[in-house]
Amino acid sequence: MGASQISAVKSPARSLNWERVYPYLSILPVFLVIALFTIYPVLYSLWISLHRYVLTQPKSHPFVGLRNFSETIGSYYFTNSIAVTGIYAVAAVLGVIVFGLLVALFLNTRVRTAGIVKILILLPWAIPAVTSGLLWKWLLNADFGALNGLLYSLGIINNYIPFLATPELARVSLILAQIWKEGPLAAIFFLAGLQLIPKEIYETARIDGGGNWRIFWHITLPLLRPTLLVVLVYETMTAILTFDIIAVMTGGGPADATALISWFAYAEIFKNLNLGHGSALAFVIALITLVLIILYLRALRTEEA
């Protein structure tokens, strides 16, 4: 057998091996990046969550099993932050959806100003969260805030209101800031959804004598449901994980009234220097978010079916 014949016999095998290896090689760079920036940190934080890891004791990290989880979940902070997060998330998501829907319905009309509003409405969403937090903080300042000034000069209030220093008002203020920040994105989503609904359906409904409200309730809303679910999933996650606005506007106060679960995790790590608790809490937050996403996705699949 000559050399040329041997190579002729081997080449299909080589080619087969190459075909097998090539896909793995192709994804290897991306896999390495993901491993470095996602898999390794997750595994490392899992390791931390199972050990006592207090930064002021850098040489002692004994294995503690699930104690970090039980201590975190059993603490006052957890109960408080779950309640605060629940109220905040429900109110903020509902607010964002209602605001987004109303704005989208307006933008979908042929009103002349709709074009300008389309641009302006995106501004709050484009502003970084920290900046918008600062804007709201100054706007709501109890001593020299613009809102207090306006209400006072209009004669609506006799005394300046400490918006961010009263537990209930501080929560409401945060929710409003979140709606202002996130509402525009929801509006754009809804607008895209509205523009996908064929005009003929509306025309037919009008010929059949349908009023605005009935058309909205029986045509617009059902056809917007897929968009609504996307907005619901995204905004729920955003609300649960809200951190920047709290850090700037209230720092979790007054009296822990705005200490959302994300703030609690931050405080455990950066204020209490307890990385074990902080990591355990991060996994709990991830689990809560995961459960919600699964629930939403199931609902979405049911809709699609």
């Binding site: 930064l55 400490p162 501080a170 007054p254 950066f270 204020k271």
Partner: protein
């Protein structure tokens, strides 16, 4: 033929580019230049222009050292530095505070100065005892003082005279009754403001000072073994919280106090919105700065109301990170030169410390500066020197300073707020604070 020409041209262009790069970089290096030692210096945002000017002066004296300045908000400083330390991104030199010294030293983030620079102990005799204590942990000195100050009680004299009040309050009951008179006469809607935001790191010092002023001697908050004493029935801390709640309920204390940080506090005092406040003494210099407001010059300091008039003395200092110590002798030498220039003497004088005192009204730990005529003149422009000295003599370090003090402080801020708001009783708030301290001590 064309492609060959293009390749040649490209090669020539490439060579030309490389030569230009070498020329450009070469021209930037002075002949016989010595490699400079770089120090990263991290501070909280206050007096940045003065710091930059001080750095320039330092670099003129030490051309072989370059200093790169970075600043963070005071409200975020602790957390940001924790992040940097944990990420092995510590600067060589930085601001520290007695709040966090034990926490940071215990974590191995700060380096004891006397280990490397035994000469630092020569400064100890010049320092106010509370300041030296605040920079000492486990018998080692960790800093040279940037400034040391007291928490003081300040009032708007014009408000008092409008209300027909002839002398400032001497007790906390006096504060309430005078505030009520001022409110009733419509001079100030909320005569008292405090910076008690949950984010305000100095709020614990204001709270402590209110407790100390009601108590004679040490042991108002913790005993010498760091066992909580504040949770005993009828303690000075309990009286303080009850007083705060009364002031809040009677609308004498601005409810916004629970979200007010130091800068807002100073601004609203300048605006004449309030009569009484408690804050670090240097803010009085800011309040009385000519043309800063219509009330400039009308803000006066009185001894902290209460039976003992005691208050908190605290220290902020220049520290060196452990990361710097690992970089070798060149960095250590540069760091010492830096620390001594900023917190020690240059040509036999506390130049930088004095500059802060004269230009910004910052208090100081270096007792000889009290005899400096320039300092006396500058302090006299905004404050009453005998009262300043009398209050400084009554200043004491914060009790209970431990590696977990920072975490306890954060917890305490929320508990005090809950008691003020009536969400829990004073006794429950104090019990929670004591339990937390014990829990943290066993971690």
């Amino acid at each position: 033929m064309r492609p060959k020409t293009s390749i040649r041209s490209l090669r020539r262009l490439g060579l030309l580019f490389v030569a230009l790069v070498f020329l450009a970089f070469g021209s930037m290096l002075p002949v016989g230049a010595v490699q400079a030692t770089n120090l990263n210096f991290v501070v909280w945002s206050y007096g940045i222009e003065t710091i930059q000017s001080n750095i320039q002066n330092f670099q003129k004296l030490n051309p072989d050292i370059t200093v790169k300045l970075q600043d963070y908000s005071w409200l975020q400083y602790h957390d940001t530095m924790v992040g940097r330390f944990t990420a092995n991104n510590a600067p060589e030199v930085l601001y520290g505070s007695d709040h966090w010294l034990q926490e940071w030293a215990n974590a191995g983030w700060l380096e004891p100065l006397d280990t490397h620079f035994p000469q630092v102990k020569e400064y100890s005799n010049d320092l106010a005892p509370y300041a030296l204590q605040g920079m000492t942990y486990n018998g080692h000195i960790y800093g040279l003082s940037y400034y040391a100050d007291t928490i003081v009680f300040v009032y708007n004299e014009e408000h008092l005279s409008k209300a027909g009040i002839t002398k400032p309050p001497e007790t906390w009951d006096d504060v309430l009754s005078q505030a009520q008179t001022i409110k009733d006469k419509g001079i100030a809607e909320y005569p008292i403001i405090l910076a008690f935001s949950q984010q305000e790191g100095a709020s614990i010092e204001a709270f402590y000072s209110m407790v100390y002023s009601r108590f004679d001697g040490p042991g108002a908050m913790f005993d010498e073994k760091n066992t909580p004493t504040f949770n005993k029935a009828g303690s000075a801390a309990a009286q303080t919280i009850d007083w705060l709640k009364t002031a809040y309920d009677k609308k004498l204390l601005d409810p916004a106090s629970l979200q007010t940080a130091e800068i807002d506090q100073v601004k609203s005092m300048q605006a004449g919105a309030h009569t009484f406040t408690i804050f670090p003494q240097y803010n009085l210099a800011e309040l009385n700065k000519p043309a800063s407001s219509d009330f400039a010059g009308k803000f006066k300091m009185a001894l902290m109301p209460g039976s003992s008039h005691a208050t908190v003395g605290y220290v902020r200092f220049y520290a060196m990170s452990s990361a710097a110590a690992k970089q070798g002798q060149a960095t250590l030498d540069a760091a010492w030169k830096f620390l001594e220039y900023f917190g020690g003497k240059t040509n036999g004088k506390y130049e930088v410390v004095k500059r802060w005192a004269v230009e910004n009204g910052l208090g100081f730990a270096q007792l000889p500066l009290f005899d400096d005529p320039d300092v006396a003149k500058a302090f006299g422009a905004w404050g009453d020197i005998p009262t300043i000295k009398a209050q400084a003599k009554l200043a004491r370090i914060k009790e209970g300073l431990t590696p977990w003090y920072g975490s306890w402080d954060v917890f305490t801020r929320a508990e005090v707020q809950k008691a003020i708001l009536g969400q829990e009783s004073t006794a429950d708030a104090l019990k929670a604070m004591a339990d937390k301290y014990t829990e943290l001590s066993t971690q």
